[in-house]
């Protein structure tokens, strides 16, 4: 896991630095305690930096565990992740009822279901069940999109 640990250590160090830097943007209010709102965050940034350095020195010293072989389907995972991000971007604009079946169908197709009937049937069926459970039973206001409220 040496390379992965090296990358992680660098990313975590950067995160610690960014988090520390951001703590300077916290406004210290009038009514506050002795430690103030930035003490704990800066302590945590320090702790993260120390731990990341420990990880780094271990990786450089060659004392990391073996890296697990990459997942057989990392590309597929990326596809699914992109679909999820796309859903989160588009759904508020086009609405739940339009975007969800398209998203589910795309996920099913990506996962290897190619027969159109099961894909469409499942995508529409699942959307209907989710819509009924959340919008009708729980009263959640799902984004309506151009279709309006059904």
């Amino acid at each position: 896991m040496r390379r992965a640990d090296l990358v992680a250590a660098v990313v975590l160090l950067a995160l610690a630095a960014l988090y520390y830097q951001q703590s300077f943007f916290v406004v210290r209010g009038f009514a506050t305690d002795r430690l103030g709102p930035t003490f704990v965050p800066r302590l945590l940034a320090g702790a993260l930096a120390v731990l990341a350095l420990a990880l780094l020195s271990r990786a450089l010293g060659g004392r990391s565990d073996r890296t697990p072989p990459p997942g057989a389907r990392t590309g597929l995972l990326l596809t699914i992740f992109v679909l999820l991000v796309g859903y989160a971007v588009v759904m508020p604009k086009l609405g739940f009822l339009l975007v969800t079946p398209a998203f589910l169908a795309a996920v099913l197709a990506a996962l290897g279901i190619r027969e159109p009937l099961p894909v469409v049937g499942a995508a529409v069926g699942m959307t209907a069940v989710l819509y009924f459970a959340f919008a009708k039973l729980l009263g959640v206001l799902l984004p309506p999109g151009p279709l309006g409220r059904v």
Partner: protein
């Protein structure tokens, strides 16, 4: 206490509470039966549904899921030799052997009955420990709570998972996540990057769904995890009363180890079931049957993991420190309803605590009743083709996250924490430590600052009070223990290595 139980029963036996507990148990059995969907994931997926409920009912429903999942996990362990939950991993050995011998009904029946016995015994043990402990916790002030939070974090970071550095990193990341939102003392926003949606902090429920459920789905997609289908016949001939009576020693062993594990952090029933299996074999009159289809080999682990469903709540309810994934989700459920676990919970909202006690008993009885009825639907679900299942769970996750606050922010939180959780799983980090840091962060920080406010800035306040001093000492010891152990092992190994070198040289 009796009055409190009556109060709890009044809540737990209301028709809506009974219905929700029943649904929770059914959902738990179905979820538990699916390999890869553990009890905690099934609970996380249900969190958004509990939002509008009476807090006591919401907690009963979530606890019902955990109870049901333990039995559900044994269904696939027995029928397809794949444990549905980590707690039923060892049940595979004898459960599957019994199934192959054509005695699947006996194996399932034993799992169900001894599991119920374990679950009910667990509730009594929970009450016996939690109520007195909550009185001790009354003596806790801010320094003690701070020290206890630190101790809990040290315990999880160093004992769960193998890697101390990565455990520490995980816990710190969780604590950092908890600092997002309004500062508890000055009221100023921190790390919100100008977003109004983050002023209230990162929703615990969304974080849990991402870290537990979404990361697992990502893992299954990337690693191409698949499982057997339930094919062929299975019998439903149940064990006789005499056969059940012969399992009393194995059941008792399961109760003992389930209790011990519940009090310790991190296992979620898996360790207890392994130890109970081995001990049951040692104490058995027929140890030779273990591994070839021994009913005792099913009874001991299934009792143990069901005892844990109740005993894992002891540290959560009394001190607010969750010791397992599912307890962490129950804590998120409490936070969702504005409840803070600890002694105040027993005092101010006895109907919630005692309602949960009675609800757990009810959930176990429901499990006994539902167990065989749910068999066919569980098998049907296990036999659904994987892509359909994954797509359905993703759909549920997205809408569920949205419904927490009727906003997309939680959907993004779920996606980001899901991706982070996947990387953590893959590269050996400690998800439970991160979750614990996240849910305890607020409590730890508030009590640190409150202590220093009371002591007028004197940090000795943590070391002059006996309870907080001993807890902090324990925390340091716990965190350093793996290092000390390694050093001792190295020292022990080195004279031997030296001896070998000497001989080789000679």
């Amino acid at each position: 206490m009796l009055a409190n139980f009556v109060l709890g029963a009044q809540v737990a036996l209301r028709p809506d509470a009974l219905l929700m507990t029943l649904l929770g148990v059914a959902w738990g059995i179905l979820g538990g039966a699916l390999p890869g969907i553990s009890g905690s994931i099934a609970m996380a997926l249900l969190l958004p549904f509990t939002f509008g409920m009476d807090p006591a009912v919401a907690l009963m429903m979530l606890a019902g899921v955990y109870v049901g999942a333990m039995y559900g996990g044994s269904i696939t362990a027995i029928l397809i030799s794949t444990p549905g939950t980590p707690g039923s991993a060892i049940t595979v050995v004898d459960g599957y052997a019994l199934h192959q011998r054509g005695e699947s009904g006996k194996a399932l029946g034993v799992s169900l009955v001894t599991g119920t016995v374990g679950g009910v015994a667990g509730v009594f043990i929970l009450v016996a420990f939690a109520v007195p402990l909550s009185r001790i916790a009354l003596a806790f002030g801010p320094p003690e709570y701070f020290a206890f939070g630190v101790f809990g974090l040290a315990l999880i970071s160093s004992f769960v998972g193998r890697d101390l550095v990565k455990g520490g990193i995980s816990a710190v990341l969780g604590l950092m996540l908890a600092t997002v939102g309004t500062d508890p003392f000055s009221g100023t926003p921190r790390f919100t990057f100008g977003s109004v949606d983050l002023v209230g902090g990162v929703a615990a429920a969304a974080g849990m769904i991402g870290l537990f459920a979404v990361s697992e789905i990502f893992y299954q997609v990337a690693e191409g995890v698949d499982w057997e289908r339930v094919r062929g016949r299975y019998t439903t001939k149940l064990p006789s009363l005499l056969e059940l009576w012969r399992l009393r020693v194995a059941t008792l062993i399961g109760i003992v180890f389930g209790t011990i594990e519940g009090l310790l952090p991190g296992g979620g029933g898996a360790i207890a079931s392994f130890i109970a299996y081995n001990e049951a074999k040692r104490w058995s009159k027929h140890p030779e049957e273990f591994g070839r289809g021994s009913l005792e080999g099913v009874a001991a682990p299934e009792t143990a993991n069901n005892v844990v469903t109740a005993t894992a709540l002891i540290p959560l309810l009394t001190f607010g420190i969750p010791g397992s994934n599912s307890a962490a989700i129950l804590l998120a459920g409490m936070m969702l309803h504005g409840l803070q676990p600890g002694p105040a919970l027993f005092d101010r909202t006895p109907q919630v605590v005692y309602g949960l006690f009675v609800g757990l008993l009810v959930a176990n009885l429901f499990m006994l009743g539902l167990g065989l009825l749910a068999l066919r639907p569980s098998i049907a679900l296990v036999n659904v083709r994987r892509p359909f299942l994954l797509a359905g769970i993703l759909g549920l996750v997205l809408v569920g996250a949205y419904s927490i606050n009727n906003s997309m922010v939680e959907v993004w939180v779920v996606l980001v924490t899901g991706a982070v959780g996947y990387l953590m799983r893959r590269y050996g980090y400690n998800i439970l430590a991160m979750v614990l840091g996240f849910v305890l962060g607020f409590m730890v920080e508030v009590n640190l600052r409150r202590s220093l406010l009371i002591s007028l800035g004197d940090p000795w306040v943590f070391f002059t009070r006996p309870i907080s001093a001993s807890l902090l000492a324990l925390a340091v010891l716990t965190f350093l223990w793996p290092i000390l152990r390694r050093a001792r092992e190295a020292r022990r190994a080195s004279p031997a290595a030296g001896g070998v070198a000497h001989r080789a040289a000679g």
